[in-house]
Symmetry: D2
Subunit: 354 residues, 4 copies
């Protein structure tokens, strides 16, 4: 119970460090009889993989997923489904320069205080590399949700101050920024390139939209649907905030403006709430936004301290995304899928008569 598991009935446990032997995930609770779409799994992994465009790090990771258990003749058996992703370049670099110093904006100092250990190899367990295991698990969750007619799409709502002004779902995967607004996407890409040239990085906002969730999902009180999604999203290292529906804008409205009236046939006239009321889905589109901080690993020299607490400087070399937004998008979808797969199953237990 040091934080490596997530979920209740559909429960995901990941393991692995950035530059260790391998990363992986065990899903305990995949229902039996799910057809595994191997191409889809590979495609999801490819979406997260670095080196897809100039916006992302050039590090080459093959990210080939080996399914170790829980699947027989391409169908899940109901037992623990484990997947393994080997690290190909684990010994390729000398990290000794980092051994005695803490990188600003990273978990280095906190981990050291927590465990008394300094795993310098690319950030160890706190590296974004860990998310490849989440994407693999998310792909399985998506296959299950697909059977239920649920679709999840995340996208770049803003990068480096440039906002998407239009929303065309079809262009998201067709521009390196993953913007739903092609034109804005080009400006976003320019901002990223500019930052990279300056040895710097930029942040942004990721949006996520879910369609097909019926009314009634989520749990009362502590395990509300939005609470669980927030738990999932803030569990991503770069995410510093989340808002559901119109979010912080609701704080400025009156009740008569913010409330979503209902109309004939259980339709909602507006959806300021983002598809969740009192923690339970309303049947409307679920949508939320995430604040993504600029990548902390930058080439510029930064002030920091060493293990003795003495002032020193650090210049982080190596391959790092000048903006994490495009690559975090499939991870956001994956975590959303993992949350929803769990609630889909929990929902079966809500009534005496199903």
């Amino acid at each position: 119970m040091s934080g490596n598991s997530f979920g209740t009935v559909f429960k995901v446990t990941t393991f692995g460090e950035s530059h260790g032997a391998a990363l992986g995930v065990v899903i305990d609770g995949v229902p039996a009889g799910l057809k595994i779409d191997r191409d889809f799994l590979d495609a999801e992994m490819a979406r997260r993989r670095p080196g897809q465009s100039k916006l992302a790090t050039a590090r080459q990771e093959s990210d080939a997923v080996e399914i170790l258990s829980g699947v027989l003749d391409d169908v899940t058996t109901g037992t623990a489904l484990a997947m393994l992703i080997r690290n190909s370049d684990q010994h390729s670099k000398d990290y000794s320069a980092l051994e005695n110093v803490f990188r600003p904006g990273h978990a280095d100092y906190g981990y050291f205080c927590k465990y008394g250990i300094r795993d310098v190899r690319g950030g160890g367990r706190s590296s974004g590399r860990e998310t490849c295991a989440r994407v693999a698990a998310g792909a399985i969750a998506k296959m299950f949700l697909r059977e239920l007619g649920i679709d999840i799409v995340a996208y770049a709502a803003e990068i480096g101050g440039v906002k998407a002004e239009s929303f065309d779902i079809d262009v998201i995967e067709k521009n390196p920024a993953r913007s739903p607004d092609l034109q804005a996407g080009e400006l976003m890409a320019a901002k990223v390139a500019e930052a990279a040239a300056a040895g710097d990085s930029v942040g942004g906002v990721v949006g996520c939209v879910v369609t097909g969730v019926p009314a009634g999902w989520g749990n009362p009180v502590f395990d509300k649907l939005d609470a669980r999604l927030a738990y999932a999203m803030l569990g991503l290292g770069a995410v510093k905030g989340i808002e559901f529906g119109i979010g912080f804008k609701a704080a400025k409205l009156s009740g008569s403006e913010n409330n979503d009236p209902m109309s004939e046939g259980f339709e909602f006239v507006t959806n300021n709430a983002g598809g969740i009321l009192g923690g339970i889905s309303t049947g409307e589109e679920i949508y939320f936004d995430l604040a993504v901080k600029p990548t902390p690993s930058i080439a510029q020299e930064q002030e920091t301290v060493n293990k003795a607490g003495e002032n020193t400087q650090i210049k982080i070399t190596g391959r790092h995304d000048p903006c994490i937004v495009p690559r975090i998008i499939p991870v956001v979808e994956a975590m959303t899928a993992i949350v929803l797969a769990d609630f889909a199953l929990l929902q079966r237990c809500a009534k005496v008569q199903e």
Copy 2:
């Protein structure tokens, strides 16, 4: 597992409906030997209680807490600590008008779809009344954290568009808005009164600051300190968003602007991160903001549907806070305390040699 429990080692389970017999909470995992400060417990309950000022509902709740177990001679024994809060006015009202209709902005429709049951008595389990059990549990958690030198303060950062411009911790509990800026507090109160007069409500932003948490708390990966806090906060019905540190502002900065440099003696020069990096506390002040929506229960007529899905109107009568911000503040502190008490204990398990 329908969402009524929260936490791992310090684990809270609440029960009770707004207009049922009683509400209560069981804490499983309070360490033995904690001195119970009965006055403090009562004071915390009083802070949440309605009818404290004109900003809040006039409903009279005594909110007397009876400790049922887990305490002997005012000291915790290590066994389950249960607390009970009777509802005094449970049969005081006729709810039959609501039986056939769903209130906009509430969980009514979602609960009905989930459970096939319509508990109309003041919102039932989804009522804000449920949070009195959280405040009782939070008071116990605060007693424990006090021994560790940890202090938690929440406040009204914004109400009805009026922002606190200064921060004086001493004035927070001295004005009905719980604003850290007395002057802004008066304007906030005026905005609330104005909305109430119009049969409407207003939202706002709650801030929370925690001092005294050492570096190293929180878990890697899924159970990050900020993730767990977000889980706790979005579990409050009116909260629609959360941001840690500078939050959504970080999305607009470059890495060189956003990163917090460290300096001699493991100090951080800035604290944009809000005291948490990679999900682990840095030893700096932890701070976050919450978007609180305007109270959905308003006196104005609203469009909605009945159980048959036909259009109808609703006018919500009765006593409702025209702004929930002041009263949610002790609840935010309580949930923060519950999260930190859990991580305080979990931290003891992090190393082979404590």
Copy 3:
């Protein structure tokens, strides 16, 4: 997480000490729509209550259950169902004689080492009185299982060396020993009376039979049906052993003798396994036996130590069952029901297509 919760989807949390204000239980996960049979609940409580016969302690406990939440118009709502049982005679006795000494055969010394606290009031949390909360929860579980056609019967298989030689389910509740063999029941009662007269106590064996569980319940690996039942049963203070099916007798057989052949229509010719194979129910009757130790509270003088570790003697006065077997029987049924209710719900999550 100090052991006061049990179960996963149907999750029970109990609280309360023997001589504190009250005992109680919260069930998180009762499905909505269950009709509450109040008479049945009361009858179950009566079955566990002391003072039913000369075999049991004369202590008078009314054991009236107040349902605090989770039920509306006698039907469960799906939210946390809490029940409260007040202790009527909590201040009736002077326990100061026990304050400085550890009772043999009790948890006194262990609790003191664990928590550094000595709760002398009738054993505090480790008292058998705690089980009344389990019986209340078990009654709810039984109501749910009844809808599924599942029936649970426990009985005295042996007391003070006297074994039941026949099995008539109809006589169990008609003799004070709860023996399924009336004649043996009389001998058992005589053994208990004899022990009581000598200031001593006797142990015995409780059997339990469950009919109606379909094949396929239970989880692989760590959470097998028998494993969970064993977890539940060894959680009863007086239980020192459990065996499923023919149990320890199987250790003496060959595979050809022990294996249960199957025959036409998925019937099992024999049922040595006790209805569980590889941790999964087979559709046959589930049965198991429990070793119940003699009540440790006896009137004879016993050697023990005080808090300083010095030799001393103790004579336990007050009302204590000279044999716990008859009164543990409804508790065994209750815990069995709690386990099965959980697996009944979990089973709904086993397949993609239910």
Copy 4:
């Protein structure tokens, strides 16, 4: 949550099928700073491996453990520790003969009813092969417990009706039966050989003794130390019963005979309780016995049914242990270690002041 995880703070998740690609385990909650003793890990795996003697199956499994994560320079980092064991002979056999038929004494029929899937490859997830992952995790737990002075020894107390009459801890690993009585060990071996020759199998009793556990471990109520150990042990497929201390013998004693008196210095004069009272360790030796059924896979022809429920016969070919007792012994130790490592950590959370 389909049963593949065990534990709370020290939490083990296993995966893998008998004839799939690999088996493995993730431990979430290994404290940081534990020195990994690679030789000890290999030795533990070797103790469980088949083909060690004529008592066991001749199947060759290399059982080489690859540590994938959580360890840096042979010391645990506090992050998830994953271990992988490849199956070498996964495609070596034709299982088509089993596809349509259920093996007596196995989980085949139950799994099929549960998941609607028939994984015939050597029993799939329900195979004893799964326990190699438990032994790997147990080896890590043992390394941790060694630091605390705790030692765990399991042994063959009885095989095929032959009981060990003496107890010499030093001979256990020196005879193929793992009997603590060399002479009895030879008779046990003869019984096994005899059964094997007849195409049959035998069962037995495994004993386990733990020294060094201080008083105070375990949780009250549902998560008692003996309850958790019973949960762990009945989670082993072949185990049909467990008794702590004198177990079922206690059922025949009076309280004055069964109670263990205490004497000067908190010593116990006797230890009928097996080192656990009221679910909490007493500081005395913990000991328990397990009923192990005869291996269900036997070469003799057996009556069974096919998937259509029609009568048929089955003769199980291949390599199977004619007695599982000797090989289950390291698994019993491993599960005991996993339970104790968890309680060792939980104990740190019991008091306000550690």
